[in-house]
């Protein structure tokens, strides 16, 4: 991250600018990062090691957590869930990535559509879609199965470990797809051709040459999927409770029942953070090793001819797209127009009432929709600015110890959203800040949570920029600030817009970060969905979900129009 030589300040400048206010701004930036990252996260350590009554040092909280078998089982379930999810998402993503990157199979561009759609679909909506599809008795798939075969036993049961893992996998497989395609794109065909010359068929070549070369990147993506899964709250809340499968995040929420045991919640969260830190460290090591094997730019790549197998792969990609996007979105749309969700969508069962209710009658829903858009706009804007400023300071080494800022900006990655919410609750909810229930606390939490994404994307943009342009401004007496606002930002316009849209989309559906910070005035759609799902009012929920999907898809479509097709899928 700091490999560009610092040229600033080494050459004598023709005209020294007057007092450089930029320095004040950069100082302020440091203060903001400390306030948003260091302060809340320090509460994790402090609260987990404090006696809730006396405030004195104790490790009793950790013993309290370790003594209850239900708490430990929750961890064990979480690990089982993450392993199954990883296996399922690899099975979904890897063949698709290989097809897109290495073969000549026709129609493979639909795979991009499937991946993008799966990425846009908020996890809790996917979960509701799948409850409607695969509920053991009333789900559509099982109803059709029973009517076709006469067998009463359900074909699929969403309320199980397998069902839960499947729904999560449908949501996280794009991560593996993105990492695998970018690694596969870098492998030259030469080695594959060598294998072919020695008599290996396409399948064997892929198995012994291509996949091993891409393995580090794939393993890295697997770790991200593992981390996403252990930190997820929305899908487990909807599916794991009826499945009676307690996982770490559903267990965490029970610590907030009155009397709230923040200290236990904190102690229970510490292993989650540790797992995350260890896996992220391992992932960095792996990806570093990966560069050697893949050796930067590959030579010429020729698409592999897969012959008859192509139909199998095409069918696989279409099936994943169907399962991840088309079926759940379709069932949400159809449910949103129904009077009773479990009945066939015949004319007498169709209505516009659900939309009328959410758009015009239920003030709560309207407010939540407004909040969702408002918080996403504010967070995306602030996050992009903060990420850009920090990246600029870090890459151009504008203040001493700039790399420490880089560490601060990426540190929130190591904290699962639900844990971050608990930290923010402990840090800002009560006096002296008393931000509980305000819009500000949610926006601040969103900014912190997604700062790493903004920072890393901006940093790679700035790194690609030659400092000469900025130096020209400086030589002519312009300040750093001026160089940044009038030169760097305009040049990087597209990538900044890409960051903004990405953060907007993920903020619009974020659930776990908002969990414990929500009171009635700052509810967002994701929280309201969870509240309303307690009553199982799926028709209204589906209508809300459709509105949310329309909003996010519109933003993404505008982004694609402005920035090219794959801006959402690029990852650094």
């Amino acid at each position: 991250m700091t490999d560009i030589a610092n040229v600033d300040g080494l050459r004598p400048l023709a005209r020294r600018p007057k007092f450089d206010w930029s320095l004040v701004i950069f100082g302020l930036l440091t203060a903001i990062l400390v306030g948003l990252v260091v302060y809340p996260m320090s509460r994790l350590l402090i609260e987990s090691l404090s006696d809730p009554k006396t405030g004195s040092f104790t490790v009793a909280n950790f013993f309290d957590v370790a003594r209850r078998s239900r708490y430990l089982i929750a961890y064990w379930h979480t690990i089982q869930l993450a392993v199954v999810t990883v296996i399922m998402s690899v099975a979904m993503a890897l063949p698709m990535a290989w097809v897109v990157s290495r073969t000549d199979i026709p129609g493979r561009s639909i795979f991009y559509f499937g991946t993008l759609g799966a990425f846009i679909m908020p996890p809790f909506l996917g979960a509701i879609g799948w409850i409607l599809l695969a509920g053991p008795n009333a789900g559509w798939i099982n109803q059709i199965w029973t009517s076709l075969t006469g067998i009463e036993e359900p074909l699929v049961n969403i309320f199980s470990l397998w069902g839960l893992a499947f729904v999560i996998a449908l949501n996280v497989f794009p991560l593996i797809f993105i990492f695998a395609t970018s690694a596969l794109d870098l492998i030259s065909s030469e080695m594959e051709e060598a294998a072919a010359i020695h008599g290996a068929g396409p399948m064997r070549t892929t198995w012994i040459i291509t996949l091993p070369l891409a393995l580090p990147a794939i393993l890295g993506a697997i770790m991200l999927v593992f981390l996403e899964t252990i930190a997820l709250y929305g899908t487990p809340a909807l599916i794991a409770i009826p499945a009676r499968f307690n996982v770490a995040t559903t267990q965490l929420t029970t610590f907030f029942e009155y009397p709230a045991k923040i200290e236990l919640a904190m102690a229970f969260s510490v292993p989650l953070v540790l797992i995350t830190v260890v896996l992220l460290g391992a992932q960095r090591l792996l990806l570093r090793g990966g560069h050697v094997a893949v050796s930067g730019k590959g030579g010429a790549r020729t698409a592999m001819r897969v012959g008859r197998w192509k139909w199998v792969f095409l069918a696989h990609g279409v099936a994943v797209t169907l399962l991840a996007v088309i079926l759940p979105a379709g069932i949400l749309v159809s449910t949103s127009f129904q009077v009773a969700w479990a009945k066939a969508p015949v004319l007498s069962n169709l209505t516009l009432d659900n939309y009328r209710a959410i758009l015009f009658e239920q003030a709560t829903v309207r407010e939540a929709m407004f909040n969702t858009v408002y918080f996403a706009l504010a967070s995306a804007t602030a996050c992009t600015i903060l990420g850009f400023l920090t990246a600029y300071v870090v890459i151009r080494k504008l203040i001493p110890y700039a790399s420490a800022l880089a560490f601060l900006a990426v540190a929130p990655v190591a904290v699962p959203g639900i844990v971050l919410a608990i930290c923010f609750y402990a840090a800002f909810a009560g006096p002296p800040f008393s931000l509980y229930g305000s819009s500000l606390i949610i926006i601040l939490a969103f900014i912190t949570r997604f700062l790493p994404i903004a920072f890393v994307s901006c940093a790679s943009g700035i790194r690609s920029l030659n400092p000469e342009l900025e130096e020209a401004v400086r030589i002519h007496g312009g300040s750093r600030m001026r160089a940044m606002v009038e030169v760097v930002a305009p040049v990087l316009k597209k990538s900044l817009m890409g960051v903004w849209i990405l953060v907007f989309v993920i903020c619009s559906r974020e659930l776990s970060t908002a969990m414990f910070l929500t009171s009635h005035q700052n509810r967002v759609i994701s929280i309201l969905t969870l509240d309303m799902s307690e009553q199982g009012d799926y028709e209204t929920l589906a209508a809300m979900g459709v509105v949310l999907l329309v909003v996010t898809s519109t933003v993404v479509a505008i982004g694609m129009r402005l920035l090219g097709r794959d801006f959402m899928l690029r990852r650094n």
Binding site: I241, T364, G430, D537
Partner: protein
């Protein structure tokens, strides 16, 4: 829907004796309204109504008292109490009036001096059994919700439907029973302690063998029964009658061993940001208009003389059981903990 209306009349309330007092009550309420106008809104944390019904109640209040908006915050009892306590711990005053299905929560708030004493002028207008819940007038019964057996009429013939609570444990319902979670739902907590009192904790151990669907709210039971996801369960009578009125295949059985009546109290928070609107809202919750809305939503009014929807039994027509405040305060937390251990969630 006006056909077959029956009127639920309770003796002991002589209309003639009431008339002069009604006039006085009107004056007091008008005075409250004048004082509340400048406050402009009221935030209501509500549990025992579905969010749709709660929104209708809020709109009704604003119709009666223009210029005062109701912010409806509906959740299960556990979540409402958790959020309220987060408010309190953070020093944020959000909630004006709390209506919860768990008296334990009201008693707990009272013990921490967090409720405002208020004697509504309409206090004596409700059915005597529902008066004087709290000696210090910190909270008052505002809704009475029956928990009964619900079943899916497409899947279960009326004759085969469970007649009493232990019938839910019949192996023929295995994989097809729904219940709520006492850790989330106040209704289920009260229902649960009554089951434990009547049949011992074995009731839940046997329930485990049924592999039940466990929702969070008791209302979820009605939804899964309507959908056919489950076909019998323990749910709130009003929600299932409301669903049936829309043409859904669901019906109620009022069990022979007792329909559990859940009386939900409402109280004003001591630090309510809109105290006059809160008092006005408390009067409204005891008034005829609110009870009419409840009755229209297939609920059981707590005032006499309100017409019931068809299918809603008067409380003196069925066997009812209720939990004592002591059971609710002491036994529910213990039951919820045991329940979590038994069902693993």
């Amino acid at each position: 829907m006006s056909i077959n209306r029956r009127t639920f009349v309770v003796t002991g309330l002589a209309a003639s004796a009431l008339a002069p007092r009604l006039g006085m009550a009107q004056d007091a309420i008008q005075a409250l309204y004048e004082a509340a106008k400048s406050e402009g809104e009221i935030t209501w944390y509500v549990v025992p109504l579905a969010s749709e019904s709660a929104e209708i109640v809020g709109q009704k209040f604003s119709e009666l008292f223009p210029g005062i908006k109701v912010n409806v915050v509906r959740s299960t009892a556990g979540v409402a109490f958790q959020r309220l306590n987060q408010d309190i711990d953070s020093g944020v005053a959000n909630c004006d009036v709390l209506t919860t299905s768990s008296i334990a929560h009201a008693i707990d708030l009272k013990s921490r001096d967090l409720l405002m004493a208020y004697t509504p002028v309409r206090k004596t207008e409700v059915i005597p059994e529902f008066q004087n819940l709290d000696a210090d007038d910190m909270f008052h019964v505002t809704t009475a919700g029956p928990m009964c057996i619900v079943y899916n009429t497409d899947e279960v013939a009326e004759a085969d439907a469970p007649k009493n609570w232990p019938d839910l444990l019949d192996p023929k319902w295995k994989d097809k029973v729904a219940i709520g979670h006492p850790g989330f739902s106040g209704y289920v907590g009260i229902w649960g302690v009554k089951m434990e009192e009547l049949y011992g904790y074995e009731f839940f151990e046997k329930m485990l063998d049924q592999n039940p669907y466990i929702g969070r709210s008791s209302i979820d039971v009605v939804t899964t029964t309507v959908s056919g996801e489950t076909i019998v369960g323990a749910g709130p009578a009003a929600s299932s009658l409301a669903a049936a009125s829309k043409g859904n295949p669901v019906a109620n059985v009022y069990p022979t061993d007792g329909t559990v009546i859940i009386t939900s109290p409402s109280g004003i928070l001591a630090n309510a940001p809109h105290p006059n609107a809160a008092k006005l809202f408390s009067e409204f919750l005891l008034g005829a208009e609110f009870n009419e809305v409840i009755a229209e939503q297939f609920g059981t009014p707590i005032r006499a003389g309100i017409a019931l929807q068809p299918g809603v039994p008067a409380l003196d027509e069925i066997k009812v059981i209720t939990a004592t405040p002591d059971q609710i305060v002491n036994d529910i937390p213990e039951l919820a903990e045991k329940f979590r251990d038994t069902f693993g969630i």
